[in-house]
């Protein structure tokens, strides 16, 4: 049965629609007249027979945004298939506003467990855990649901790709698992929640490489902008979910110097040394030579941050710097611009600067810089400075394993998939910092990583 706008309008005026009224909305256009009146629609208690998924989304979202708080009843929007009813819970959760978690709150959660060390340690810890578990139990399903929904909106052909499909299933399963868990209001349920969360975190480790592969294969089916928007959303949300989850898990067994996942006395210098050594080794295995690195500036700086995030960024920047330096050096040597007896490429200079509000780390290489036309593209996903032909053959040849490692990030083998820089920038921006590149054409590149001081009590940064 079809009800056309005029008829529906009449229904609305009556405010008491016939109970058996079923409505088929053939397209969004039909729906337009009611978009401004979601509450009225809801009051009408209409059940919809909908064959346009988007329209359902629209209604659900509109009802939510109107602030009427009728989420539960919004699920009264029913469709005539099991397929749709399975999705309705996702939509419902995805449309629910997420609770903003500030960094300060995260730190508070942790500090109550570490500070009250002596007498009530066990009790305090349990309380903290429960508080944290409650927060996550309410929060994670909503965020997972948003991701599920975002994948659902991808073009069909992209969703068919095995990598993307796998990720979809993973998120959907995680959502189902978490939202079916009982609210952690006692010790047992909290424990159950925590162990389940641990499994989920483990199952999500390779999401980024899979995502990268999937999008590399789907490149031709989506515009760059749409893909970037999707990936930005995925990665941001993934970082947030992981920070929340890992923070909760880390709170279970506190380590001195840490609050949850936050390292409160992280030395950028030693992390830089460690990462640079590792990358240098990789580079030497790969190219036979590697540049030295020099550390200058305020080397005694200590900050509060998540080590993994910094390590990821350092690794990406240093890999790029090493590769560019060696390749430029070899080119100069071949062209005779640098003497053939010169066996060491110029060093990479790393400077740590401590300011009142932030710490800036500058990576300065002499790898020839980035030409202006490429500069605008370096933060694109799937952009890579590795030549295409080389990449294609590399991926299938055994001997190139070390080169793949050179390209790989800490999150897994993202060999030449070009996620390194955009992801590094997301990590940098995540707590309000920045990652910027300045090229001195023909000479080298300066990379500025600005890390905010997140331990400040006034930090309102939202996760």
């Amino acid at each position: 049965m079809k009800v056309y706008p005029q008829a529906a309008g009449r229904l609305e005026q009556q405010h008491s629609p016939p109970e058996d009224c079923m409505m088929t909305l053939v397209s969004r256009a039909h729906f337009q007249p009611y978009m401004s009146r979601p509450v009225a629609l809801e009051k009408m208690g209409l059940s919809f027979l909908v064959d346009d998924d988007l329209a359902v989304d629209c209604v659900a979202e509109r009802i939510w945004r109107s602030g009427s708080g009728v989420l539960a009843r919004a699920s009264g929007i029913r469709t005539n298939t099991t397929w749709a009813s399975a999705n309705s819970r996702v939509h419902e959760q995805a449309a629910a506003p997420i609770t903003r978690v500030t960094l300060a709150r995260l730190l508070d959660l942790g500090s109550s467990s570490t500070n009250s060390s002596n007498n009530n340690n066990a009790n305090a810890n349990i309380n903290t855990t429960r508080e944290s578990a409650l927060l996550l139990h309410a929060e994670l399903p909503k965020r997972l649901a948003r991701r599920v929904k975002a994948i659902q909106k991808l073009p069909f052909i992209v969703g068919v790709n095995p990598h993307i499909r796998g990720i979809y299933q993973l998120y959907l399963d995680s959502f189902e698992t978490l939202s079916n868990l009982p609210e952690p209001d006692d010790n047992d349920s909290t424990k159950l929640f925590t162990t389940t969360l641990k499994d989920l975190v483990a199952s999500h480790t390779d999401v980024i490489p899979r995502l990268a592969k999937g999008f590399k294969e789907c490149g031709k089916y989506m515009s760059k902008e749409d893909a970037a928007e999707f990936l930005d959303g995925m990665i941001y949300s993934r970082i947030a979910i992981r920070v929340l989850a890992e923070h909760h898990l880390a709170l279970q067994d506190p380590i001195p110097g840490y609050i949850g996942v936050l390292n409160t006395s992280l030395s950028p210098t030693s992390l830089l040394k460690q990462t640079a050594d590792y990358v240098q080794e990789l580079c030497e295995i790969n190219y036979g030579i590697a540049p030295e690195f020099e550390l200058t500036g305020h080397l005694d700086t200590r900050i509060t941050y998540i080590s993994n995030h910094l390590e990821y960024i350092f690794m990406e920047i240093l890999k790029n710097a090493n590769r560019a330096t060696v390749e430029h050096f070899v080119k100069l040597r071949q062209s005779g611009a640098v003497s053939r007896t010169e066996s060491f490429p110029p060093p990479i200079q790393i400077t740590v600067a401590r300011g009142p509000d932030d710490v800036t780390i500058r990576f300065r290489d002499r790898g020839g810089g980035i030409p202006p036309d490429e500069m605008s593209r370096v933060f694109e996903y799937s952009y890579t400075t590795v030549p295409k032909s080389e990449l294609d053959t590399d991926l299938s040849i055994f001997s190139s394993q070390s080169r793949q490692a050179m390209q790989a990030g800490v999150g897994g083998p993202i060999a030449g998939l070009g996620f390194g820089l955009p992801m590094s920038r997301i990590y940098a921006k995540y707590f309000g910092g920045s990652l910027e590149l300045k090229s001195v054409g023909g000479h080298g590149l300066d990379v500025f990583l600005r890390v905010p001081n997140i331990s400040r009590s006034d930090n309102k940064h939202i996760i």
């Binding site: 400077t351 600067a353 300011g355 932030d358 800036t360 300045k438 090229s439 000479h443 500025f448």
Partner: protein
Amino acid sequence: MLALNSQRPMMRSTLGTAHMRISNQQSWNAVLPETRQKSRSFAAHQTSTAPAAKSSATRGFYQNAVVEKYAAKETKLVTLRQLTVFGRSLSLEKLLRSANYVREELPVRLAHRIIDIQHLPFIVGTNPHIQLIYSLYWQAFEAFRTFPEIKTLEQNRAFCRLVESQLQTHLVVIPQLAMGMAEASTPEHMSSEVADRFLNEMLRSRIGRRVLAEQHIALSDTYEQSISNGSHNSGNAAALVDEDEDGWIGIVNTRCRAAEVVDRVSVLAKRWFRDTYTNRGVEPPEVRIDGHVNAIFTYIPDHIEYILFELFKNSMRFTLETHGPDTATSTSPPRNQIVHNLLDDDRLFGLTWNEPGVLPGYSKSPIRRNYHHFEQSVPIYGSEHHLTHLEPINPNHILPPRQDLPEPILSPSSQQRQSAAGKKLPPILVTVGANRNDITFRVSDQGGGFAHSQMQNLWSYTHASRHVFLHNLENMPKLAGKVEEIRHTQHNSASTIESTNKSGGRPFELEENSLHLGLGLPMSRVYANYWGGTIGVHSMHGYGTDAYIKISLGNQAEHLTYRGGDGLA
């Protein structure tokens, strides 16, 4: 003001001073004192309903048709190559063509700016500073518009005199404009963004007009010299003049060498440092250069030198503030207190004022040739070798060290203090990168940097944080916005430093020399953008600042429309 002008007529090697007094000189002398008085009571004018002045600034509404006619014409953009083509194998015919091009082009460009002023909010147009500018632009417009076609060398001489006089008269434009816009950019009148955009357009256009004017005058001088030198064969009007061996064609140099440019400017900046901070008893930071030091490019050296000078000045100043004898040691971070105080004040925004145009050859190349002094710099890595597409440097082009600027004389006490402090300021490192398409100068200092939140105000002339410079602008009647004027002041005052220091006082010029006007960086960006380049700044708060100037190689046309953005990233 009148006295100042008559005491310091501008002199040029080939044109007599008698011509410098121009017909409308009187009129702006009449306007200026009046205006300067009014500027103090601008607030009063704002509240009164009557328009500000009955001076010549208020042009008749019905005369506007003439301007509109010219403003309807398109600006003919000049390219660097065109500037040099006019000058290569200079003949009388080419010179006259150049003259007529300038004669026709200037009124069009002036008309565009007049229309821009007319579209400001009415209340802004009643500001005395803006009225002065408006009046000056009208006068210039009328003068060039009514100048008859130039057919002979004699007519060209008269035209050059007009151009010279206008260049001189318009030296008040930048300070007046900056003051007017700063006063007008209040929430009630116009936003800071709109005011900045207007200023950028005005200044960019101003650079363009001055390039045309100065290039033509320089070419005329070259031609006149060639006639008087080789008088035997100059009987015919087709005497050919080629570019000189240093690569100068008028004000353009086809053989700018990166290291020489940096070196010339660093000498000036060090001098500025010694003049400004005589009582700090510390030597200016060393300026080191590496990278493609021998890169050679075609440019108007004054433009790149202006930018570098502003950057060096900022770098030196903040290096001193951070590492000077009275501040923290270089190994520990600077005291945050100091950094914060500076930020409140005028961090990074210096521009000095000097009396311009008092030396012969004001806008001409000959005087520059004395500045080819070139310290031995150390190319550290990958220097000139692979720049095969660039011309190799001919050692003959490097002239002996110049003699005209004596080394500074530090008083014994300051020398002692320096040795007592026993340390040098950390150096400023200039790295040159050269590509097929562009050359980048990176200026790295350890001057403590600035807070991330300051970035957005960096390029504004009129942001509220700039208003502290207003009183400095009032003390600075003229500003060419060129490096030349700094040279001349230093040259002039060099001998007076010691004498006045002995007697305890400081010469007038030096007081003015250290005025911070808050125009340095935004004006540098206008200069950089003009030939299609960019300038960007990145700070490491607590450590130092890196500035990146990229100039485009190849045949660049002037960029007269504002593009904004700091470009590089």
